[in-house]
């Protein structure tokens, strides 16, 4: 068993980055995720593993530092909260286009605009539909606990390098700020330069005589060439949809109704499920863990076995669009959401189920 600690979600991300063998963190402070960089600064990972931690002059600078680091095959990451992630979109699109791996953590706060510092899930569209320009996706992981904040850092880096793609952890202010028990994984040594050269033949690691220059770019002015790049990206996304879909189902075996929720909302729905079951309402929970690729097939399957489904989100109805696209035939699917930093209470969710699905 790994080391047990009581940690904030943000601290767990930072500690997991050091243990995952991350080479560099570049970020700019913003509430509610500032503890990530604070923890790293206090922990001085340069002394533990040689990992670089740098406060950039802006979010735009951080994401471009990731572009540079990833271009040399290094394991790099950044973190921010909603407005800061918006600033990074150009760089993320460039990285997707240049097929560069990196990990980005969004500890979401309420928006639009500067919004509030309270938790929200209103960045779902931005995370799963692209966010920046061009036809691209990131793999999007949605942790629902502090444990997953730690585990998904390691998973995120693995997937980023497996597919040469930016990976986003879509968290929220509550999971970032709350403390839970975490079992930390054992540290993985940072890769040596020789290992990077061997494992990342695409990276700009210095030109030996026997091969051509490696050019990292997302620019190809020839449309035929650009289409080829796009086709390659699309093939990659199809592969992800085949191999990387992750979800969790809780008490769905006998369920007549289903909550569909990710991240913090899924935790609230678990409590709502207990309250509803005490009232003899047989409800289960379907929790997408990857938001891209989305567990469309599994949702289509379960939809056939139940009378109705309630999608619960801390936004005005975003994931519900992907749920509806997953279904073969019209189903009773409704949305319940709170926004702007308000977290729905478990009994409020039960009332919504009773009114919108059971009684509706």
């Amino acid at each position: 068993m790994g080391e047990l600690r009581l940690m904030k979600g943000n601290e767990a991300v930072a500690e997991a980055a050091i243990r995952a063998g991350c080479d560099g963190y570049f970020g700019y402070p913003i509430t509610p995720q500032s503890e990530i960089m604070e923890y790293l600064m206090v922990e001085k990972p340069h002394e533990r593993t040689g990992m670089v931690v740098l406060q950039a002059e802006s979010e735009v600078a951080s994401i471009n530092m990731l572009y540079g680091g990833a271009g040399t095959g290094k394991m790099v990451m950044t973190s921010s909260s909603s407005p800061g992630i918006s600033l990074m979109q150009e760089g993320i699109s460039y990285m997707a286009g240049a097929e560069l791996p990196c990990l980005i953590v969004n500890v979401v706060r309420g928006g639009p605009g500067l919004g509030t510092i309270q938790p929200s899930q209103a960045d779902y569209f931005q995370a799963v539909k692209g966010g920046g320009h061009g036809d691209y996706h990131m793999i999007v992981l949605a942790p629902a606990s502090v444990q997953e904040m730690s585990d998904f850092v390691k998973l995120g880096f693995d997937l980023a390098f497996k597919y040469r793609t930016p990976v986003l952890i879509l968290s929220d202010g509550a999971i970032g700020q709350m403390m839970e028990k975490v079992e930390l994984f054992d540290p993985i040594p940072r890769r040596t330069n020789e290992e990077v050269i061997r494992q990342c033949p695409w990276a700009a690691t210095g030109k030996p005589k026997e091969r051509d220059h490696i050019i990292i770019t997302s620019l190809d002015l020839d449309p035929a060439g650009q289409e080829k790049i796009n086709l390659k990206l699309q093939a990659k996304y199809r592969q992800m949809k085949k191999d990387e879909v992750r979800f969790e189902m809780i008490q769905c075996e006998d369920a007549e109704y289903i909550f569909i929720a990710f991240g913090l909302s899924a935790r609230i729905c678990q409590k709502a499920m207990d309250i509803a079951r005490a009232k003899n309402i047989k409800v289960g929970l379907f929790r997408p863990v990857t938001l891209f690729p989305f567990p469309a097939k599994a949702i289509a399957e379960i939809s056939k076995k139940v009378k109705g489904m309630l999608v619960v989100e801390m936004n005005a109805g975003q994931m519900i669009e992907d749920v509806r696209l997953s279904l073969d035939s019209p189903q009773k699917v409704e949305h319940y959401g709170r926004f702007g930093g308000i977290i729905p209470a478990p009994d409020e969710v039960v009332s919504a189920l009773e009114q919108q699905i059971i009684g509706g």
């Binding site: 700020q177 709350m178 403390m179 028990k181 409590k271 209470a345």
Partner: protein, 184 residues
Amino acid sequence: MTEEIIIAGFGGQGVLSMGKILAYSGVMQNKEVSWMPSYGPEMRGGTANVTVIISDDRISSPIINSFDTAIILNQQSMDKFEKTIKPGGLLIYDPNGITRHPVRRDINIYSIEAADEAGKLGLSKVFNMMVLGGFLKLKPLIAPEYLHKGLQKSLPVRHHNLIEDNEKAVEIGKALLKPVLVLN
């Protein structure tokens, strides 16, 4: 066993750290725990509260709106949280600074004059641990040896010389507890 607790008072009273010590002791005793602070645009001297859940099972929502126990250390928190205690639940409050005493008749109510006592003994730094002692007397969820481990884990090493004072404060707190209303 699941115990859902809200601890609420002024910033600077040690509300968040009391919750952290309780939660960390729970981890050491192999319980599931969650610690969810209010992290809004609070400032020094403003209100602070934290929800702590300790359970033998996986914890569902870390955000809840009714509690088994409320530990209340100022008037604003009394106004906000007295009504959120589950019927049959527990309210512990320090009467220092309280102008409107609790009115519920369907919960167990205890007072603990910890602020006064901590001031008299010159132990105001560990006032929060006196209050925690009062709670642990009524709900002995955490065994003393795990509380010791929880203190070791939550306090920075430079403050480990204060662990003894903290443990002493817990014992003082247990003696300070006074029943106000005890249901049959």
